[in-house]
């Protein structure tokens, strides 16, 4: 087991503070548009698909698949950046795949949510690990 990575804390603004507050309860919220009945990410008040402001958060199941990834080999501590497509939501989010064998990662691989600590006590970061 490697030491748990502490991620840099994201900058929280008034529009996204509910999203980040939920991370401290290990919940991943995804913004849903009640008008066009579709999800989007990162969260906005006004739906980027249809322009409606009738949007609200729903909790993601926390499972998904790797859409694409790239292991940053030329870094002090190599890491795997990825887009993960969230099951049943039709959207992909940027994340890191953690606690994994970098050489065994594959596009299409199933992954599950695993929150990581950040430099802020108030915010955790949604990361993923092989399911």
């Amino acid at each position: 087991m490697t030491e748990q990575k502490i991620f840099p804390a994201p900058s929280v603004d008034p529009e996204t503070k509910e999203f980040w507050a939920a991370t401290n309860e290990n919940k991943l919220l995804v913004r849903y548009c009640n008008s066009c009945e579709s999800y989007h990410h990162y969260p906005r008040t006004i739906c980027p698909h249809c322009g409606s402001d009738d949007t609200s958060y729903k909790q993601a199941s926390g499972t998904g698949t790797i859409y694409s990834y790239s292991v940053m080999r030329r870094a002090k501590e190599p890491y795997a950046i990825a887009y993960v497509t969230l099951d049943g939501m039709g959207i992909s989010m940027m994340t890191n795949i953690i606690d994994c064998d970098f050489d065994a990662l594959e596009i299409g691989q199933s992954v599950k949510l695993k929150f990581s600590p950040t430099t802020s006590d108030d915010v955790r970061l949604p990361t993923f690990t092989p399911a």
Partner: protein, 388 residues
């Protein structure tokens, strides 16, 4: 209403410097401006329109108009990253067509090398941009973002590292003739795939160079172009298109060139098979491959085959590209390759490229730029230029 034939590129200049430790940023802009105006046979007092992007210091056109002593009636600081300067050519043509200016100066300069910037491996903080909180903690850098595009392309279409390597090989064949190129050695497919991986699946030699310097262009009205002594390079068509994550419906297999390309071809009234020379944005080998597909030089997914076996080498293949050595070998000033794309297209159309890489009867050229990141959000811009 169209810009086809409404403006001409009369001046073009690429700064020969590649490490500008002894020059200021404003000085580089001004030296590029002077070079392009002298190339056109004009002076700064002829300039009435000025265009610059995010590489300019301070309040962009205000700071540099002050520094250079320009008296202007039209300014434009459209910022779409490395593709800005192709957009500027199109916007200059629009402004000239409407009579808002008649001599438009466009400059680019930067000194990432002198400043020791870790261009490819350090995350960039775009401040208050709304995406930053949801991306920056994961350490997206230029190389792993383009790496994700390449990984997906390989997954969907079977593209290989060897095929991508052919793009660098072609650029290096051209760069050997450019005395100013950062990398002048011809490399092989083996050299590329045996160079160290930076971010999967991109090797060091899949990446462009990091260099200081800059360039400038002068876009003028037809009347002024015809009064000058330079060959006539006409702006025939242009297209621009931002592409992004589409609210999370991420698709890394194509770029905004899929929109800017067809728009430019339609305005110019020509098709991809008519193009004799192409300047294609080459921050990475994968950038070139995706754009060649999106611009319609081959079908989506066929790019790997298309670029192989020297097909991009002047005098050898069907689509001579980046005959100055491109960003991959020659120059990527300010981490923004759009300006040099237009400059080499102008050289080709004038017959002023190096004789070893000059395309015969080069009367129709395309220049294409990508700014920002193909992995997140980027601005694509396409120009079609014709020698008259």
């Amino acid at each position: 209403m169209s810009i086809n034939g409404k403006a001409y590129i009369a001046g073009a200049f690429e700064h020969p410097v590649r490490n500008a430790v002894d020059k200021s940023l404003a000085q580089l802009h001004a030296e590029c401006a002077k070079g392009a105006l002298e190339d056109a046979g004009l002076t700064k007092d002829d300039v009435d329109g000025y265009f610059c992007a995010g590489d300019a210091p301070g309040l962009g056109p205000l700071a540099l108009a002050d520094y250079m002593g320009l008296k202007l009636r039209h300014v434009d600081s459209t910022e779409t990253g490395g593709s800005s300067y192709l957009v500027h050519v199109a916007h200059a043509a629009e402004a000239i067509a409407l009579g808002k200016c008649s001599v438009a100066l466009i400059t680019l300069a930067g000194r990432p090398k002198a400043e020791g910037m870790a261009t490819g491996t350090a995350p960039r903080d775009y401040g208050a941009s709304p995406d930053v909180a949801f991306e920056l903690p994961y350490a997206p850098v230029i190389t792993n973002m383009y790496g994700m595009c390449a990984m997906r392309h390989m997954h969907e279409f079977g593209t290989t590292s060897e095929q991508l390597a052919w793009i660098k090989v072609a650029a290096s064949h051209h760069a050997q003739h450019n005395p100013n190129a950062v990398l002048k050695n011809v490399v092989t497919v083996e050299d590329v795939v045996n160079s160290p991986i930076i971010a999967d699946p991109l090797h060091r030699l899949d990446c462009c160079v990091i260099s200081d310097g800059g360039g400038a262009l002068v876009v003028v009205s037809p009347e002024i172009a015809k009064s000058l002594k330079r060959p006539l390079v006409k702006v025939k068509g242009a297209g621009e298109a931002p592409k992004h994550q589409m609210g999370g419906r991420v698709d890394l297999t194509y770029s905004g060139a899929a929109f800017s390309g067809p728009a430019a071809f339609e305005e110019a009234g020509v098709k991809p098979s008519d193009i004799k020379y192409a300047s294609i944005y080459d921050s990475f080998t994968i950038t070139v491959l995706m754009q060649i597909e999106d611009l319609g030089f081959c079908a989506k997914g066929e790019g790997g085959n298309f670029v192989s076996d020297g097909n991009l080498i002047s005098g050898v293949g069907k689509l001579p590209f980046n005959t100055d050595g491109g960003g991959l070998c020659n120059n990527h000033p300010a981490n923004r390759g759009g300006m040099t794309k237009v400059i080499e297209a102008v050289r080709q159309l004038r017959g002023e490229a190096h004789p070893a890489v000059q395309v015969e009867n080069c009367d129709l050229a395309l220049a294409h730029g990508t700014g920002g990141s193909l992995g997140t959000r980027h601005g694509s811009a396409t120009l079609i230029l014709e020698r008259e």
